[in-house]
């Protein structure tokens, strides 16, 4: 073959709707966010860890859980990243995803950081520090989902 053969490309796309059952635990957690602006974890009866998000069993002890514990609306930032590139179909940059250990909880909640200017790629990482204190900021219109906490902001 002296010249390159034309190879055709067939387009494809998936757009499949689903409905995910949140279950009793997430439903109660989200109702508390929506109706009372409170954040609840659950306590494992064996290892006594307070787990967040709430779940019906402890993955370490394999124990069933039914004790609910309100945790703080402030916590400590344990890990983070700030994404600066747009990905098709995902939230627009810059977006700071964080792991926050709320006061009284043993694990982290993964969420986003707000209330600071993330736009400058050279300066923003200096403004965010592992170990910094952060506080939940609530949405006015809450729908019973994790983003009813709009973001966590640094505690002044």
């Amino acid at each position: 073959m002296t010249q390159e053969e034309e190879i055709l490309i067939m387009p494809g796309a998936w757009n499949l709707p689903f409905r995910h059952t949140a279950g009793r635990f997430a439903s109660r957690f989200f109702r508390e966010l929506r109706d009372n602006k409170k954040i609840f974890g659950v306590r494992c009866p064996e290892c006594r860890r307070v787990l967040l998000p709430p779940r019906p069993l402890c993955e370490k002890c394999f124990a069933s859980i039914d004790e609910w514990v309100e945790v703080g609306q402030q916590g400590t930032l344990e890990a983070f990243t700030i994404c600066y590139v747009p990905f098709l179909g995902l939230p627009p940059p810059p977006i700071a995803t964080i792991m926050v250990k709320l006061d009284g909880a043993d694990g982290c909640l993964s969420h986003v950081l707000g209330g600071i200017d993330l736009s400058d790629v050279d300066k923003a990482p200096e403004l965010v520090k592992i170990g910094m204190r952060v506080q939940a900021v609530w949405r006015k219109e809450r729908k019973g989902e994790i983003s009813d906490i709009e973001y966590f902001r640094p505690v002044a």
Partner: protein, 390 residues
């Protein structure tokens, strides 16, 4: 009593951002025919096939159906065929699956195949995001990069690792990939180049992140009796295992240290009777989708103490000429056809043991280690290969 098993044939394809020259089955066929040729076997010599790909990366559910004929004409020859998928760990899981097929005594010669056309999805991160918990965690847009970047930020904080350290990992892997004709990225890089690259997700720049690749890989596993007849250079499986980590990303206390990988290493080293990995292992192929992970993996696998991974790198211990070269192939950092990538780690480790790695061959390899992680770091696989039958 479990039987000894060896890798007796390896087949790799050239990986690139889009293999427009082949259909999906043609790509798989390329790997399978290369593995059969390497072992000097025919399709009829294969007793069973273990196949893997990560759904839904190729835009079809169950791509094994699309590729079944490309795996030694499985349709025509009515072979037993099983598909395994564990996200990015798929390639490791299929190798383990093949190993279990043979060590159990149920089959003597098994073909293990993994493939992925990441180049055919127009947004890999959007596909990876479907692997994240839909109730609590998916909304933030997280995926593999988010996890890798959190690891880097935590390692920076805990151990003083810097962007320059990450750049050195990239430079080392890119230089190695230039010696590997199957690697996707073929480009010379300097530390200065890396530090000027676009920031993807702080602190990871473009050169800290793997590409999206099309590629396939196949290996042939055989029982002891058959292995000795098939090849003079079998790579014996001396130890292998898999481990799970927990589900919620926020539950993990280990962003700077991989506890699950350390536990798995301890188990597999016991099985393989490895007391001092730095002394006993001659080369390692680690799943470094992000530069930081090569550093953390070196630590978790006991090549050095926690927090000393950058020192190991800076001293050249993990370079091609070092005591324990890591990723002479260029690693996952330079080539990532996701579901196939884990099997490429194992295939590359086997090539090193067999003495067939050509331009990226490490001298005097007896023992090689391969590592795979996947599914938002929900799983790890380790395999240790040896020139001598243990």
């Amino acid at each position: 009593m479990a039987r000894r098993v060896a890798i007796v044939g390896v087949g790799l394809t050239k990986c690139s951002s889009h293999r427009r020259d082949v259909t999906y089955p043609e790509l798989v066929h390329e790997a399978v025919t290369a593995a059969l040729a390497d072992a000097n076997l025919k399709a009829k010599d294969i007793d069973a096939i273990v196949y893997g790909a990560m759904d839904p990366f190729d835009g079809v559910f169950a791509p094994e159906r699309w590729n079944v004929d490309a795996c030694v004409g499985a349709g025509a020859l009515n072979k037993p065929f099983i598909k395994l998928t564990t996200g990015g760990t798929t390639g490791g899981s299929v190798a383990l699956g093949g190993y279990y097929h043979v060590t159990s005594g149920l089959f003597d010669v098994v073909l293990v195949v993994a493939s992925q056309r990441v180049g055919e999805t127009l947004e890999a991160q959007l596909v990876l995001n479907t692997c994240i918990d839909p109730i609590y965690e998916r909304w933030m847009g997280g995926g593999a990069i988010m996890v890798g970047a959190n690891q880097a930020a935590s390692h920076f904080r805990s151990y003083g690792t810097t962007e320059e350290d990450l750049a050195m990992v990239a430079v080392k892997n890119y230089a190695s990939a230039l010696n590997n004709p199957y690697a996707h990225l073929q480009r010379h890089l300097t530390v200065e180049d890396c530090l000027k690259m676009r920031m993807i997700s702080w602190p990871l720049r473009l050169s800290d992140c793997c590409p999206s690749s099309d590629g396939a890989c196949a290996i042939i596993l055989a029982s002891e009796k058959r292995a000795r007849k098939i090849t003079k250079t079998p790579a014996w499986i001396r130890g292998a295992g898999q481990i799970t980590d927990n589900y919620y990303i926020g539950d993990r206390p280990w962003f700077q240290d991989w506890e699950a990988l350390s536990i798995l290493a301890h188990r597999v080293y016991s099985e393989a009777k490895i007391d001092n990995p730095l002394e006993d292992i001659d080369v390692a192929e680690l799943y470094n989708a992000f530069t930081i992970q090569e550093i953390i993996e070196s630590e978790a696998l006991g090549f050095c103490e926690p927090g000393k991974g950058t020192e190991l790198l800076r001293k050249g211990v993990t370079s091609m000429e070092g005591k324990l070269p890591v990723n002479p192939s260029g690693g996952t950092l330079c080539t990532n056809p996701i579901g196939a990538t884990g099997l490429i780690r194992i295939a590359e480790a086997a090539l090193q043991v067999m003495g067939k790695a050509d331009k990226h061959q490490v001298a005097n390899v007896k023992t090689a280690l391969a590592h795979v992680w996947g599914a938002a770091v929900g799983f790890h696989v380790l395999m240790i290969l040896d020139k001598q039958n243990p």
